[in-house]
Amino acid sequence: MSAFSRALQAYPTLLRVGFAGALAYRAELLIWMLTTTMPLVSLALWTAVAESAPIGRFGAAEFTAYFMAALIVRQLTGSWLVWEMNMDIRSGSLSQRLLKPIHPLFVYSAENLAAIPLRALLCVPIAALALAAAGGERFQAAPAPLAIFAAALLGAWLLNFFTMALIGSLAFVMESSTAVFQLYLAGFMIFAGYLVPIELFPPALREIAAVLPFRYTLAFPVEVLIGLSGPRAALRDLAVQWAYAAATAATALWAWRAGVRRFAAFGG
């Protein structure tokens, strides 16, 4: 437990270091931010499609609200930890992280969180403008949905981060875990509601999407934010999301511990 509290004490400093690092690699951060603006393309596409006739209860305004919310959620919860870990493990620079008296995943998480203010700098103005244009009345300003949204956002970040950590840990046993990551991304693209709102799926696929964890990383917070799901369903989904997050975290930590034992730093 003392290790944990020591890590918590060091966390503000880690965040400052991470923020400085994010500032130093501005070009990378910019590309990174561009990759998460894909909902804008989806938005252009679906508003064009919805022009002739709405799909389900989705007209042009609903699509705008949905994809803007998706943009915000993705910017605030995304993580590229897999690439970071792949590189650290393969090049051996992980040994430097292992030397620190804090769990490396803690340090990784601080680096990830510290970049969020910079990312928000780009996406929030765009999203706010588009939402103002689409009419913001869909957004629920009541405290209860907002609280659920905040919890869902945190849950989505945790789920994302630990999934990345889990896939990244595979690099301890495989030459590179990016192939597995590609597979994960393909699943994410469709079943997280990133390209199409899950509600519009054919029934059989909707059921598959409801069971898989993907939708809890994106679609669920988005649906809460734009008021697509009622408070009762939202609370139930929140419980499932946090259960998924906890399970993933436990598995990731176990995989990390098992992996580090195999790790024999190359070079350094």
Binding site: A27, E28, S52, W80
Partner: protein
Amino acid sequence: MTRVRYLRLLGTQLRVSLALGMQYRWEFLLDGALTVLFAFIGVIPLYIALAGRPPVGGWTFERALVVVGWFTWLKGILDGAVNPSLISVVDRIRQGTLDFTLLKPADAQFLVSTAKFELWKLVDVAVAIGIFVYAFTALGRAPALADVALSLALLAVATLVLYSVWILVISAAFWVVRLDNLTYLFNSIFDFARWPATIFTGFWRILFTLVIPLALMTTYPAEALLGTLAPRTAALAGLGAVLFAVLARAVWKRAIGRYTSASS
């Protein structure tokens, strides 16, 4: 004389890739299954948007499937012939082992572009042909022979553009050290080539036609196969592709001039 030499070199590189690929027969099977699965998953958004609904920008679901077919085919070329070689360049730049390539008595761009082929990606082409068969059966007709020839010519044009874009991306590796996110960005943009570019309107249509030529890559070959492409557009596409390739070659030359071997 040099042309013969480069053809022989290409043959050798292909043979090495084939020998390497035969080691991973399981990967072939797995990859084939995944390709079929992803082709199905990729069609879902189009199905939702177009099936049983009024056509958008003149595209019905069956016609849009032809675009998906070309997308799948081109994705196979990208993942099988373009990506594998060029990704390894990035590693070599970082580690400084690009020296070995530069020392060889052949054009460096040729050598790095043909370093590795993943021949099992031919499965993608088979899936693409399956999609074409399905789409044209649903349309209730067969494509004209001239249209098939024109669309295959446009496929060559599309491959040239795709390759040139990749050369540009790789050239960036001489300036920035990490490319993971750049390749990811490229892949996520390329994913939209699944959609007919003429569904987009305004800014996005211009972006995907002229700046990031997704229209040229999949929409034009599809229109050619459907017999609706204007000959002028096809000619302009060919011209644009050649210009793009010349530009990419120039940027590559500049980039390689900046290369100073890393490490010892």
